[in-house]
Symmetry: D2
Subunit: 340 residues, 4 copies
C-alpha cells in the first residue's frame, strides 16, 4: 500500500494554477512541493526564513511577509494556510480577512475545530471571501502518496480549485475501483471530496482521526495480548513467545485486518522489535477529543473511540489519584495493603 504515487500532471494549460501557501512545516512544505511537481506555481511564506529557502530550492517563490504574498498573487487569489490549529490559525485568518479581496479564496488546510470554521466562514463571507476548510490526511507520506482531502465550503470555490486538489490527491493508483460506483462523483475515487458547507471538511477529518485512534488502539491491545503471552505465570504449554514483527508482517497479506496502519507497524517492528526506543507516553491531538465530544453532543455511543483517547491520557500519568483511592478503599474495608 505504500507505493509511490506521482502528483497528477495538469492535462491542459488552463489547469495550471497559482496558489499562496502560508506555513511551511512538514505538511505545508510538502504540499507546495507536490503542487510544483504537478506543474502549479506556489508563492510561499513562513515566519522561519530557512523554511522558505528550503521550498525555494524546490521551485517555490518565497516572499518575506503575508502582505507580500497577497501582492504577489493575481486576483482572484487562492491562499492555503497550513498552520497549527487554534490561536495561530485564528490570527492568520483575521489578518488575511484584511488583506484578501472580494472573490478570493482562503483555505484552512490544518486541523481546526469545525465550530471555529463556521465562525471563520461567516466572518470571511462578510468580506466577500470564500472560505474552504480542508481536512488533509497523509502525514509525512503525503508528498509521495498524495493527500486525502475532505473539503467543506462553497461549491464554486471547490470546483474552481479542482486542478489544485486533483494534483494533491493520491489519484486512483493501484487501488481497485469499488464496484457500483460508476455513477458517483469521480473525484472521490481519486482521494478528495466536497463534503458539504463550511466546517464539514474538518468535521469529516476529525472523525477520520477519531477512527484512527480507535484502529490504533485495537492493534495495540491485540499485540499487547500477544506480547504478554510469554508470562511465567501462564501454565507451560499455553505459554507462547510470539515474534510480534512477524505477526504484523504475516497479517499484511490475505488477512482481514490488513491496513496501512499495519504496514507501518511492520516497518516499525522490523527496525525495533521490542520498541525499546519509545517511552510509552503517547500524545493526543485535538481531533480524538473532539470526536468524543461530538458523539456526546449527538447523544450517540462511542465506547471504543473514547477508550482510545483515555488510554493515551493514562499513558502520560504516573499513578493516578484514582488508583490510590482504590487502594485506600481496599485497605479500609478489607485491610488489604498496597503501600508505596
Amino acid at each position: 500500500m505504500m507505493r509511490h504515487q506521482p502528483a497528477a500532471q495538469p492535462q491542459e494549460q488552463e489547469d495550471i494554477m497559482e496558489i499562496g501557501i502560508i506555513g511551511l512545516g512538514r505538511m505545508g512544505a510538502n504540499i507546495a512541493r507536490r503542487l510544483m511537481q504537478g506543474g502549479h506555481s506556489c508563492v510561499v511564506y513562513d515566519r522561519d526564513p530557512k523554511a522558505i529557502a528550503a521550498v525555494e530550492a524546490d521551485g517555490g517563490k518565497g516572499v518575506a511577509s503575508v502582505e507580500a504574498l497577497v501582492k504577489a498573487l493575481k486576483p482572484p487569489r487562492a491562499v492555503w494556510l497550513m498552520l497549527p490549529s487554534g490561536k495561530i490559525t485564528d490570527d492568520a485568518i483575521a489578518t488575511m480577512s484584511g488583506l484578501l479581496s472580494k472573490g478570493d479564496i482562503l483555505i484552512d488546510g490544518g486541523n481546526s475545530f469545525f465550530k471555529n470554521d463556521v465562525a471563520h466562514g461567516e466572518m470571511l463571507k462578510g468580506h466577500g471571501i470564500s472560505f474552504l476548510d480542508v481536512g488533509t490526511s497523509g502525514g509525512v507520506w503525503g508528498l509521495e502518496r498524495g493527500y486525502c482531502m475532505m473539503i467543506g465550503g462553497d461549491k464554486w470555490a471547490v470546483d474552481h480549485l479542482d486542478p489544485i486538489f486533483a494534483t494533491l490527491a493520491p489519484g486512483k493508483g493501484t487501488i481497485p475501483e469499488t464496484p457500483g460506483r460508476e455513477k458517483s462523483d469521480p473525484r472521490v475515487a481519486n482521494g478528495y471530496m466536497h463534503c458539504g458547507p463550511v466546517g464539514s471538511g474538518h468535521f469529516a477529518k476529525m472523525v477520520h482521526n477519531g477512527i484512527e485512534y480507535g484502529l490504533m488502539q485495537a492493534y495495540a491491545e491485540g499485540f499487547n495480548i500477544l506480547q504478554t503471552r510469554d508470562d511465567p505465570a501462564i501454565p507451560e504449554g499455553q505459554r507462547y513467545s510470539f515474534n510480534i514483527g512477524d505477526l504484523a508482517e504475516v497479517w499484511r497479506r490475505g488477512s482481514v485486518i490488513s491496513s496501512w496502519l499495519l504496514d507501518l507497524q511492520a516497518i516499525a517492528l522490523a527496525k525495533d522489535p521490542k520498541l525499546d526506543a519509545f517511552s510509552g507516553e503517547v500524545a493526543d491531538s485535538g481531533e480524538g477529543r473532539w470526536t468524543v465530544e461530538a458523539a456526546i453532543e449527538q447523544a450517540v455511543p462511542a465506547e471504543v473511540l473514547s477508550a482510545a483517547v483515555f488510554t493515551r491520557f493514562r499513558s502520560r500519568r504516573d499513578h493516578t489519584f484514582a488508583e490510590k483511592l482504590l487502594s485506600a478503599m481496599r485497605f479500609e474495608f478489607g485491610g488489604h495493603k498496597e503501600p508505596k
Copy 2:
C-alpha cells in the same frame, strides 16, 4: 452506616449450635468470635497454632488437626471452611469428604468460583454430605457490623443452620425497612439469603464484588477529576483546588451518592488527604474477572465492570507494549517523536 451491630442472641436453648471452623485468618477468626458472642460453640482449626490460640483466648475450642475437629463435633456435624479459594479450598473439601459422614453439612464460606462449587457439591452429594456455598461480605468490619451472606445449596441444610446464619448476619439494625416487603422472606431483611442451588451463593457474591469494583471505580474517576482540576493548564477562574476529604464527607449526608464505600473514603482521606501512603498499584481478586467472564458467557454487556477490572490491570504495569506501539505508529505516519 458504621454502627456497632451486636450479634443476635439465640432466643431459645435449642437455637444454640455447635460448628467447626477451619481457617482462622481475619475472616475465619472473626466469624468464630461473632458466633461465640451469639452463644454458639466453635471448634476451631488452623495450620498456624498461633491463630488457634488467639481464638481459644476468646472462647473457642482449639484442635490440632482436621481429624480431631471432626471427632470433636457431634453428628450431624457442620463444618465451615474459610480458606483461600483455589487449590487450598479444593484440597480441604477433598479431605473433608473422607472425614465427614452422611447427613453432615460442609460450608465453603470463602470466595470460590461457582463452577467449582457445582463440582464440589456433586462430589459431596455422593458421600451423603450436603454442601453449602456461602458468599460472605463484611471484610474487617464483619465482627462489628455482621456479615451479609448469600447462600447456595439444599434448603434443609440452610434451614437447619438458621441460628448460625442469624447470629452472623447484621440484622435489621437502624436501616429502615423497605416498604412493600412485608410478605417477603424475613431472613433477607436481616442480611442473609438462600439464593438457590449449589453455586448460586458464590455466583451472587461474585456479582456483588463485580458491582463493588464498578462502584469503587466510579468514585475513583470522579475524585480524580476533582483532584486534577487544579492544573496550571486550566484557565484561571475555571481552576479549582478542592478539599477532597471534605467533598467525601459532605456527600455522606443527603446526597444521592452516599454509601458505605463513601464512608470509608471519608475515613481514609481524613487520615491521609493526598493518599501519599499508597503506591497506586491496585490488586484484583478473582471475582471481578469472573464477573466479566460471566457477562461474556451470558452475552450481556458489562462495560463498567470490565473497565474497572482493566484499570487495576493497568495500574500494575509500567508502560505497556500497547502504548509503545501507539507511539511507533505515530512516528511512522506523522514523524511524531515520543522517545524514551
Copy 3:
C-alpha cells in the same frame, strides 16, 4: 438511610433570615418549605400562579413578578434561583442583574454549567452583586432528608447565608462522624460546603452526578448479569433464577455495596420485581456529559463515567447505523447474513 431529618431550627433570633425564591418546581417549592419549617421567611415567585399558591399555603409570601419579589425583600437581599439550567437561568440572571442592588446576593441553585457560572459571576460582580453557585443534591427526598449543598462564590456571602444553608442541609443525623475530622470545618459534616470560587460549587455537583451515573451503571450491569443467569443456553446446574429484589435487600445490610441508591433499588423492586413499568429508554441530563468533557479537558481517563453516559445514549436508539455497518462488513468478508 432514609430517615426523616427535620430542618435545623435557628438557635438565635438573629439567625432568622429572609430570602426570595424564584422557580417553584419540585425542588424550589420544597426548598422554600424546608426553610420555612426552619423558621425563615420566604418571598416566592413562579410564572405559574398555582405553584405560588401551593407554597403560600405552606406559609410563603407569594408575589406576582420578579420586580415585586425584589421590592418585597429588605436589602441586603438574597435571591435563590431554582430554574432549569440553560437559557431560562441565563435570562433570569440577566434580569436580576438589573433589579438587584450593590451588596445583594444572587444564588443559582440549579444545575448550571460551571463555565456559565464564571461568566455570570463576572457580570454580576460588575453590578456589585455577589453570585453563589450552589450544587444541590436531594431530589424528591430533599424536603424530608435535607439537601446536600456544594457552594461556590465569595466567602463573606457564604458566611452571611449560613443560617439558610444550615437549615436546608441534612445535618449530622444518625450518620456516624468520621474519625480524625475533629478540626475540620463543621459545616461539612452537616452536609454543606464552601468549595471555592464561583463555579466550584456546580463543578463539584457536576462530578457528583457523574459519579452517580457510574454507580447506577455498576449496579445495573451487576443485576443484569444476575437477572439473565436464568438462560436456557446455560448448562443446568450452573443456571440460577435469582430473586433480584431479595438480593437488593440483602445487600443493604452488612455488605460492601450498601448505599442509598441500593435502598432505592430495593424499594423499586419491591413494587415491581421485573420493572415491567419501565420502557428501558433512559434519559440523561447535562452533568454526566459535562463530567466526561471535563475529564477530556483535564486529560484524565474516565472510562466508567463515559460508559455510563453512552449506555443511556444507546438505550434511546433503535438499532444504530454502527451496528448495521458491522453486519455489512461481516457479510462482505465472511458471507454472514444478518438481514432485517
Copy 4:
C-alpha cells in the same frame, strides 16, 4: 487491495503433495480448490454428498467416509479438518486419532479454542500423530486472495507441508516489502507463519479476530457519528448530511485509515447506502470473547476489544433489565418518569 492472487504453482515435481480435507463448507471447499489450482491432489469428504460432488467437479477425489479418506491417502498422510469448532471438531479429532498412523499429520484449520488444541495435541502425540493448529484468515475472499495462515505445532510437520501452505498463502502480491526484513523468515512475507508450539496458531488467529472486532467497531462508531450529524437538534450551520459511501471511498486513498475492511465498507455502501438490508443485530463468534478472556487471564487491559464485543451483545437485546433499573432509580430519587 482486492486484487486477484493466483495460487502458487509448485516449482518442482516433488513439491506436489496429496492431502485429505474433511469439511467442505465455504472455507474447506475453497481451500481444496486453491490447492488443486496449485497442482496438489485433494481427497475430500463431507457429510453432505452435494458438497463432495461440488468439489469433485473442480478436480477433487471424493470419498464416502473418513475411513475411506484415510485409506485413499498414502502414508505419511496429511489430513486437514475444516469443521465448526467445538464438539464437531473435537469428535472428528477423536475419530482421526484412531484412524491415522504414526508419522501422519492432522491439521485443524478451523477456529478452535487454543486450550483445546493443547489437549488435542497431547492426545495425538500419544498416538505418534503430529497435530498442527492453523488459524486461517481469508473468508469468502480466500480462494481468490489466498489465505493468511498462523500455524502452531511441530517444526518438522510445518516444514514438510510447506508446499501446501505456500500454495494456500496469498504470496507477496503487489504489497510492497517491509524494509529491514531481508533476513527474516521469507514465508512470513508470503502470508504464512510458524508461530510456535501447538495452540499458538489458533491463539494468534484468536487475537487477530479480536483486533478485527476492535477495528470494525472503530469504523462503525466513526461512521455513526457522521451519519447522525444530520440531526434537527444540531444548530444549523453545524449540521451536515454526509454521503457516507463517498467518505468510505475517499479514505481508501492516501488516508491513514485505509484498510481492507474499509474497502469492504465502500463496497457495501455502494450497494446499499443506508444499509437498510441489515437488521442491526450483530452476531459474534468465539474469538472475540476468548480474546477478552485471554486479556483477563494475562491481566492486561483490553478496553477497546471488550467494548467491541459488548456492543454486539447489546445489539441482540431489546431493552435490558439494566436499563430499566436505571430508569427505576431515576424515578425513585428524582421522580423522573420513563414508562413503557
